[in-house]
C-alpha cells in the first residue's frame, strides 16, 4: 500500500496534475443497448491540439466506426475558469452492431483505453408488460419487520407471508456508484433505468468534470427506449415528489438530482401515460404561492393542454380513473406524500393540510386499470418512496408501515398477473440502509431503556394486533414492539417508542455539525446516543450492502446470483426486445 502511494505521488509530481486523468465516457466495461443513443466524451488532462489527439475504435479511426466526428474543445473550463484540459464530445451516437468495442485515446504523453460491450436483445418481446417495484432503501430488515408486524409470528414461524415473499426468482444486486462504493437514489435508479452506472446525484448521464449539471454525457433512459422502439404505455407512480431522483430516473438527464424544475420538463418530454405522486410545487409557475419554480412555466396547464386529466386528491383520482382520455396526471401533495402511518392512522405530518391523499395501493390499481387499456402493453414503475424517507431519520415504525403498504401494492400487481400472465414483475430496492432488528422493546420490563430491550430468548414475540385484518397493526404502540437500530447514526435521543406526534427528526444542525434534537430529550426513557457518523451527517446514511431483487413472470429466469444494478436494465431491455424497433 505504501509503495502504491509513493508511486502515485511520483506520478503526480511528474505530470503536475492533482489526481486528474484521461477519461473516456462511457467508462470501461460499459454495457450499451444496441441502437440506443448516447454521448461519447474524451476528457484529456492536458491541452492538446486537435490533430494531436488520436482515437481508435477496434483499431480503426473512431469517426469511421462512429460515422461522425466529435466536437473538439481546446480548453474545458472548471470553476473560476480553471483550465481542465482539452476534450472531444460526440452527442447522440448510436451503435447498430452488437459486439466488443475497444476504444483507445492517445494525446501527447496521455493515453487511455476502455472496452464497451454493445448488446442486442431478443428479437421479439418475452412479456407484454413489466411492473417494476422499487422500494427506496428497501433492506432485508424492512421486509422481516413488515412480515412480523403485518402477519405476526408464533412458535418461530411467520403466521403469514408478504406478497413479495412469493416471487419466484431472485438475485443479489450491487449498488455501488462510479466514483464510490457508496451510492444514492439518483445513480442507483439511473443504473436500473439506463444500464449505465453513474456517480452520486447523477441521473441519465455519466458525470463529467465541467460544472454545468446538464452538459454531462447522456445515456438513453428506459422511457426514451420505450418510446423509440415500442408503442407501449408508460406509467410512473411514487409517493415522493415525481421529480425526486427515483421517478426522475425513468426519463431525466442531469448531473444534479436537485434540478427538479428541469426534471418536470424532462418527464413531460416522454409523456408518461400515467403519472401519479407528489411534488406539485415544481409544476406550479413561480408566482403561485407554494411554487418552487423560478420561471413562469405552468406545468399543470402544459400537461392539461397535452390532453392529461388532472387529479389532486384520492376522490378526484377515483373519478378520473373512469375517464377515457388515456392520459392521467395525479398530483396529491406539494412535496412528498405523507407516510402511511400518518395518512391512515396518526394523522400527523402534513395530513391536516393534505387530508385526501391516495395511498400507494390506490395509485397502483388506478395505474394498472389505465395502462392495461393499451393492447400493446405497458411499463409501470411503482416506487415505495417513503421507506427510505423514514429510514434516514431512523423512524423505523414509519419505514415499516410504508413497507407494508408497498407490499400491498405488489399484491395488487400479482392479482393483475392472474388475468395478465404475460407480465414480468420485478421487486427490488435501489440501495440499502444499515438497519437491523435485534429484539423487542417491552414496556412491562422494569428499569431504564436498556433494561426494556429484550434480546435472544428475552425478546419473545411482539404483541401487535391486526383485528380488522387490513394487514396493518391496529396500534403501532402495543406494549412489546420490534426493536430496530441503524448501524450508523448522528447524535440522537433513543426513546424505544414510536414517534406518535409526527415523523422523527433525530438531529439538528449547529455550527459544529449535527447534534441531538432536544425535542426528544424529555421523552420517557430517552437516552442520548452519541453519533458514529461524521458530524456533517444529518441523518442515517445509505449502506453499501447488496439489495435483494425478486421477480416473477416471463423473463424472470434471467435474474440469478450476483448482478450489477446496470445488468438489470439489460434484462428489462431483453424482455421488451428494445434491440428491435417494433413500431
Amino acid at each position: 500500500m505504501r509503495r502504491l502511494i509513493l508511486a502515485l505521488a511520483a506520478t503526480t509530481a511528474l505530470t503536475g496534475a492533482a489526481f486528474a486523468e484521461t477519461s473516456i465516457i462511457p467508462l470501461d466495461r460499459a454495457t450499451i443497448l444496441v441502437g440506443s443513443p448516447f454521448d461519447f466524451k474524451v476528457e484529456l488532462d492536458g491541452v492538446h491540439a486537435q490533430d494531436a489527439i488520436a482515437i481508435s475504435v477496434n483499431g480503426k479511426p473512431y469517426a469511421e466506426v462512429f460515422g461522425k466526428a466529435a466536437e473538439y474543445v481546446a480548453e474545458e473550463k472548471g470553476k473560476e475558469d480553471k483550465v481542465l484540459g482539452s476534450a472531444l464530445i460526440l452527442r447522440d451516437l448510436a451503435l447498430a452492431t452488437p459486439g466488443t468495442y475497444a476504444v483507445e485515446v492517445k494525446a501527447g504523453d496521455e493515453s487511455k483505453a476502455v472496452t464497451w460491450e454493445v448488446y442486442g436483445t431478443s428479437a421479439v418481446p418475452k412479456a407484454k408488460n413489466i411492473i417494476f417495484f422499487l422500494g427506496d432503501g428497501l433492506s432485508v430488515s424492512h421486509r422481516t419487520a413488515a412480515r412480523i408486524m403485518s402477519r405476526g409470528m408464533h412458535d418461530g414461524k411467520a403466521n403469514g407471508r408478504l406478497a413479495m415473499d412469493d416471487l419466484d426468482r431472485m438475485a443479489f444486486i450491487g449498488t455501488s456508484s462510479t466514483h464510490s462504493i457508496a451510492t444514492d437514489s439518483a445513480n442507483t435508479m439511473s443504473a436500473y433505468m439506463t444500464g449505465h452506472k453513474s456517480r452520486v446525484n447523477a441521473i441519465g448521464v455519466y458525470a463529467d468534470r465541467t460544472p454545468d449539471s446538464q452538459d454531462d454525457p447522456k445515456v438513453e433512459t428506459l422511457a426514451e427506449a420505450l418510446r423509440r422502439t415500442t408503442t407501449k404505455s408508460l406509467g410512473i407512480v411514487a409517493k415522493s415528489e415525481l421529480e425526486d431522483a427515483t421517478p426522475a430516473a425513468l426519463a431525466s438527464h442531469t448531473r444534479n438530482r436537485n434540478d427538479k424544475a428541469d426534471i418536470v420538463e424532462m418527464l413531460f418530454d416522454v409523456k408518461p401515460d400515467v403519472l401519479l405522486g407528489g411534488g406539485s410545487a415544481y409544476f406550479l409557475k413561480a408566482d403561485v404561492p407554494g411554487s418552487k419554480r423560478k420561471d413562469d412555466k405552468d406545468f399543470i396547464q402544459i400537461f392539461q393542454d397535452a390532453g392529461y386529466k388532472l387529479a389532486t386528491s384520492a376522490s378526484e383520482l377515483k373519478a378520473a380513473a373512469g375517464n377515457n382520455t388515456g392520459k392521467l396526471l395525479g398530483l396529491f401533495h406539494t412535496g412528498n406524500m405523507d407516510y402511511e402511518l400518518d395518512r391512515d392512522f396518526l394523522k400527523k405530518g402534513t395530513v391536516e393540510k393534505f387530508p385526501d391523499q391516495p395511498g400507494l395501493v390506490d395509485m397502483t390499481r388506478t395505474a394498472l386499470d389505465e395502462l392495461s387499456k393499451n393492447p400493446e402493453g405497458f411499463f409501470l414503475m411503482v416506487e415505495g418512496s417513503n421507506i427510505d424517507k423514514a429510514s434516514h431519520p431512523l423512524d423505523w415504525d414509519r419505514a415499516v408501515m410504508d413497507t407494508i403498504e408497498f407490499d400491498k401494492a405488489i399484491a395488487v400487481a400479482l392479482e393483475f398477473t392472474r388475468t395478465h400472465p404475460d407480465t414480468l414483475i420485478v421487486v427490488t430496492g435501489d440501495h440499502t440502509h444499515g438497519v437491523s432488528i435485534v429484539g423487542t422493546w417491552d414496556d412491562e420490563k422494569d428499569g431504564d431503556l436498556r433494561d426494556k430491550l429484550g434480546v435472544y430468548d428475552d425478546a419473545g414475540f411482539p404483541n401487535y394486533v391486526d383485528a380488522n385484518d387490513d394487514g396493518y397493526p391496529d396500534q403501532i404502540n402495543p406494549t412489546r414492539r420490534l426493536a430496530m437500530f441503524s448501524s450508523n447514526f448522528p447524535d440522537y435521543y433513543e426513546t424505544g417508542y414510536p414517534k406518535m406526534d409526527g415523523p422523527f427528526e433525530p438531529a439538528v444542525k449547529t455550527d459544529d455539525g449535527y447534534v441531538a434534537n432536544e425535542a426528544y430529550k424529555d421523552a420517557p426513557n430517552a437516552v442520548l446516543r452519541v453519533g458514529n457518523l461524521p458530524r456533517s451527517s444529518d441523518t442515517g446514511v445509505h449502506s453499501v450492502d447488496d439489495v435483494v431483487l425478486q421477480s416473477t413472470g416471463p423473463g424472470s429466469e434471467a435474474f440469478k446470483g450476483y448482478m450489477e444494478q446496470s445488468d438489470v436494465y439489460k434484462i428489462l431491455a431483453d424482455v421488451f426486445a428494445f434491440g428491435t424497433v417494433q413500431k
Binding site: D184, S185, A186, N201, E241, A245, R257, N258, K260, S280, A281, L284, A286, D287, V288, P289, G290, S291, K292, R293, K294, I300, T312, S313, L331, F332, H333, T334, G335, N336, T350, K353, F354, K389, H392, P393, E505, P506, A507, V508, K509, T510, D511, V515, N517, E518, A519, S536, D538, T539
Partner: protein
C-alpha cells in the same frame, strides 16, 4: 468579489428603507403585530397555497414572528430561513431534503451572528409578500421579512 457587491447593495437597500421608515418604526414598535406559522396561509392545496387575510393585511408592515433559524446557505449569507420546527435536514446541503411549504425568509437589516438551530428566536421585520428570487442564490420565496433583526427568546 460578488459578495462585496451584494453586501453593499443590501446595505444600501437597508439604509434607504431605514431612512424612509425611521419615524414609522419607533412609534409602531410597541404595536408590532405578532404573526405565527399557522397564520401564514389560509389554505394549502396541491395547486397552490393561499395567503391568509392576516398576511394580506399586514403586508408592508412591521411584524414579529418566532421560529427556528434553519442552517444558513453560507456563513456570510444575507438571509436565512425561519422555520416552524428545527430543521433536521439541511435542504441547502442535502440532496434528499427540500423545504417545507410554510417558511419565512429573513433578510437582516445588518449582519448578526447566526444562532444554534435548537434555539427559538423572535424576528421583527417588514413583511413582504409574493414570489421573489434571491439574486445571489436563486432561492425562491413567497414571504419575507425585510430589514429584519432578531433576538433569542
Amino acid at each position: 468579489m460578488t459578495g462585496t457587491i451584494i453586501n453593499r447593495r443590501s446595505c444600501l437597500a437597508g439604509l434607504s428603507a431605514a431612512g424612509l421608515s425611521l419615524t414609522a418604526i419607533r412609534p409602531a414598535a410597541a404595536a408590532t403585530s405578532e404573526i405565527t406559522f399557522d397564520d401564514l396561509y389560509a389554505s394549502f392545496g396541491v395547486l397552490g397555497l393561499e395567503f391568509s387575510d392576516k398576511v394580506k393585511t399586514l403586508t408592508g408592515q412591521t411584524v414579529a414572528m418566532s421560529g427556528f433559524m434553519a442552517p444558513p446557505l453560507k456563513a456570510e449569507a444575507q438571509f436565512f430561513v425561519l422555520t416552524e420546527i428545527p430543521m433536521a435536514l439541511c435542504p441547502f446541503c442535502s440532496s434528499d431534503a427540500d423545504w417545507p411549504d410554510n417558511i419565512m425568509v429573513v433578510y437582516l437589516r445588518r449582519r448578526q451572528t447566526f444562532t444554534q438551530p435548537n434555539q427559538t428566536i423572535r424576528v421583527t421585520g417588514r413583511l413582504e409578500r409574493g414570489s421573489w428570487i434571491d439574486p445571489d442564490t436563486g432561492f425562491v420565496s413567497q414571504l419575507r421579512l425585510r430589514e429584519a433583526g432578531y433576538e433569542t427568546a
